[in-house]
Assembly symmetry: C2
């Protein structure tokens, strides 16, 4: 199944940049970074349960947020990209 | 139908902040800002054709990108939110 993960991390809060980096690194194990704060993960339910648990242990729930979109198996027909090609490294400089 | 719109704008490029603000303002007319660079728009096909055209006229296709996810009518069951509640103003300070 495909899960789209988007996140907002309060990077100016204490430890914010570290949380952002950790979230991005965890998502990288299962998916592709398509925009600065958006990952598309093709993942099985067991892996997803573990990743979800890990991500929710990283964020500060008072300040940050995660949003998941369950796009199912036929996700390719649901996605359209316009403009610059996504090409990110987890440690890339800031682009929003 | 529901269209999820996510965008990356190269804010440090000339005019980048202006493009970011314009994109966010256009999306606000049709949807809810759920994260800093993610909007959920509930929109009919005619409105979507116009909004899409407007957004693609704003971005710099060499530097910025838009990504659309067509989530259909039963989108509520596809979405899950964890952590801080989304509450944004288009002119809010930077949170990623």
């Amino acid at each position: 199944m495909m899960v789209l993960i988007s996140y907002d991390v309060a990077v100016t809060s204490p430890g914010g940049k570290r949380r952002l980096r950790k979230i991005a690194k965890e998502c990288t194990n299962f998916g592709q970074r398509v925009q600065y704060s958006v990952f598309e993960c093709v993942i099985d339910p067991g892996q997803w349960a573990r990743l979800k648990n890990t991500l929710e242990g990283i964020i500060d729930v008072e300040l940050d947020s995660l949003r998941y979109y369950y796009l199912g198996k036929n996700y390719r027909k649901r996605v359209e990209h316009i403009g610059a090609k996504a090409s990110f490294d987890v440690d890339d400089p800031l682009i929003i």
